[in-house]
Symmetry: C2
Subunit: 209 residues, 2 copies
DNA sequence: TACATTTGTTACCGATCGGTCACGTCGATG
DNA sequence: CATCGACGTGACCGATCGGTAACAAATGTA
């Protein structure tokens, strides 16, 4: 359901050079990454076996290991795929509101609030960070890098919207979003996340010029 | 370190009827729950085997299964133990600031901010909720119940402190705390959680009467 | 002392995990 | 047609998992 919207963005467009002309069927690598994203999100990373990923990708374990040296490598690749989706989200946001940066910030709140409703599993990056406690796991580098990029974009958005303290506002919004997502898992849809939008608006108003 | 403060509350007091007079050594059941709490927090729930728990508790797997019917049951019991620590935290908070409810709210912020510094693993309850995706897992009932109790206490605290909208303020503070904790795992100590305290103060000021 | 309860020890079970090997199949290219 | 690379299939490996059986040792109680 949530994977369907991403499947149309990634594979079809980028496979023209490969000249694969069969009926819309993508190559195994993309299917594996896509399936890994879905299963990791819905069942957790450790709880998802490589065989289940291969099966969901309509292929087999051997082909999976021909493309990815290990499960950890596949995990990193899946996180990078999610990072690409985040980047696409930001590009679409700036494209939809090219001039009015104030409206762009409000749209960010609204879109994130909407994602809280139909995505009950929280942030895939943060969930991975929570689940993979080994501090030397290669996924942590990917996660930190993506989170840093997101923070930079959010700070820029707050600055464009004319906040008095863009860094503080960005961090506040980041904590509110992260907290809303995780409390969606722990306390349900009727928990604190219910008032995510109002809390964001209050923060924006509090840090206005 | 954090486990030590709880060890003095639970076992010693409740074991007088058992008449165990050996040198301060607690009974296996408490040691198992305590070890489970520590290992679950430091290594994750799924990544922690029952044998490792028994070993850390200075006992063996057979004794563990004599006290707990399954690992899932032990998980629930460990979460309940953590719930007791939360309750102790709140009791101490109200005991330390019996009169000044405004100061009590500020102390809540300060204590939570301090816990962000020396506890890099976030909220054990939320982490468990994220890690255990099976919606029918018995741990979810425990988690939701504890989270609901915490929410009630936080709302009461905000109301006592004279907020205009205690429910909204409590939810905002809950999201900020939850988000600060998880972003501590995903983005490091220099991420958004760095400004948790300031964000809380701004929220409190925004919702003041 | 005699008994009952709680622990400790060891070996074991079936299942699943991540990962590999050998071989067979297919489609594209020359 | 021949070749080559990507893919599919199934069996297999060692390790680890949660959980159990059987028996010995310790412990408290009468």
């Amino acid at each position: 359901m949530s994977i369907r919207s991403s499947k149309i963005t990634n594979p079809v467009v980028t496979e023209e050079l490969a000249g694969n002309a069969n009926g819309g069927k993508t190559r195994p690598r993309e299917r594996i990454v896509s399936a890994a994203c879905t299963l990791f999100r819905e069942n957790g990373i450790r709880a998802t076996g490589v065989e289940a990923i291969a099966e969901a990708a309509d292929t087999n374990k051997m082909t999976l290991y021909r493309h990815f040296g290990s499960k950890d490598e596949l995990i990193c690749e899946a996180l990078k795929c999610i990072s690409d989706r985040h980047a696409a989200f930001w590009e679409k946001l700036t494209a939809d509101f090219p001039d009015d940066s104030q409206a762009r910030l409000l749209a960010w709140v609204e879109l994130r609030a909407a994602s809280l409703v139909d995505e009950p599993h929280g942030c895939d990056l943060s969930n991975a960070a929570v689940e993979l406690k080994e501090t030397d796991h290669p996924a942590h580098a990917v996660i930190e890098q993506v989170k840093a990029a997101q923070h930079r974009r959010l700070v820029a958005l707050c600055a464009d919207a004319g906040s008095r303290d863009p860094d503080l506002l960005a961090n506040t919004l980041a904590m509110l979003l992260e907290g809303a997502r995780v409390s969606r898992c722990a306390s349900g849809a009727e928990g604190p996340c219910r008032q995510f939008s109002r809390a964001c608006h209050a923060a924006i108003a509090a840090f206005r010029n």
